[in-house]
Point group: C2
């Protein structure tokens, strides 16, 4: 299996980085190929802009998704985007590894999503959800956060974490066709002991070893909707 | 009323920019003070990093929220953050004006949220939701998107738009204590006629004129939870 880990944390010694390293070693020990995109270390540019296209369909007015489609077809996407897109297309499993900032991805990772999930390749027209361009691949979201587990769930103060993660799990990863596995969540990280951190790393190791047994989350299928996307 | 509009679109002639201009003129005509942060025009840096702090509580290991608290107290936040934070504290109403990218904010706006909603000022400890540091202010999310209205809602292919916007509406704006108004949504923008666009601008104008009548969305209140944030 080919695995791409996209890692986004501004502190290179963070526990989130330890989770990344755990994933690399566990997955390599199982014989998988692993690449890591360490966005802060790469000085990844998160800004979707006109500079992302060497050629333009319309040089006077930027419609980002339209230029992505042309760029993908003519291989005229900016080099940093093409490089990440190549890694993504190579991967059977994508792991997004990040600390929860405002119940979502840090901007640098959002900018990887904005720029790399290129229209015309990853989705486009009626190619989304189970018909998405990345169908056949799997995705795992691995997050660290300050909150405790009892603050999430039905009736809890923040509601279910999966609901907060909906734009990523459903609106992004499932949208492009990936099978989205239940997230791996490291709770309360800034406040716990070294022992508790080690226990989290151990449980991540176990989870990664049995990933093929995981049942993916369920999302809509296009066959449940008509041509205009009204429910059948 | 003081209004801050945070605008994030890579195309200066976009319809999203027309909505920004509509808000400026409608609100000024009503006698309100309006400031605009045009993030692309400002070349806003969206990356949360160690460079955001002129002094460090711990120079060897970055805990971002911890350094925010020190930075706010000692006025040692990076100048670009302090400038935006001052605008935010000045404002009675915050408008986030952006195109929906992956059912959420473009990275440049996510980076404004990550860096400007500073711990110790906007939230911290038990100061969140109705007890948040920005209690008393109101917030409006104005989004443009390609999808049609019938693709959102209960049973629709993408589910309710408010559910996709949960990390922004609840996890960010309500979290820091703001009264969050129902979003203004411009559907199907890339595909509609000039007349339909004008109709959207007109309806935005009307909405903004009667904003004080709007009932804010409902979110949890801290009094519904005990000291450890278990539901009472």
């Amino acid at each position: 299996m080919n695995v791409l880990i996209v890692h986004a944390h501004p502190e290179s010694q963070s526990f989130t980085a330890a989770l990344r390293d755990q994933a690399v070693s566990t997955l390599r020990a199982q014989g998988h190929q692993v690449q890591v995109s360490d966005l802060y270390a790469m000085s990844w540019n998160p800004l979707a802009s006109a500079a992302d296209f060497c050629e333009r369909e319309n040089p006077d007015y930027l419609v980002y998704a339209l230029e992505q489609r042309l760029g993908a077809k003519k291989h005229s996407l900016a080099a940093d985007i093409q490089q990440e897109l190549d890694k993504l297309l190579w991967a059977d499993l994508l792991i997004l590894n990040f600390p929860l900032y405002w119940f979502s991805a840090p901007a640098i990772l959002k900018g990887w999503i904005d720029r790399v999930l290129v229209s015309g390749v990853c989705y486009g027209g009626k190619r989304f959800y189970d018909q998405g361009g990345l169908a056949g691949k799997r995705a795992l979201v691995t997050v660290t956060l300050g909150g405790r587990e009892h603050m999430f769930g039905e009736g809890a103060i923040h509601g279910p974490l999966e609901d907060m993660l909906r734009p990523i799990l459903r609106g992004t990863l499932a949208y492009v066709g990936m099978q989205v596995l239940p997230p791996f969540v490291a709770w309360h990280v800034p406040y716990i002991s070294q022992e508790a951190r080690q226990a989290l790393l151990d449980s991540y190791h176990e989870r990664l070893q049995s990933l093929s047994d995981d049942l993916p989350l369920q999302f809509p299928k296009l066959a449940q909707f008509d041509d205009r996307l009204y429910p059948l």
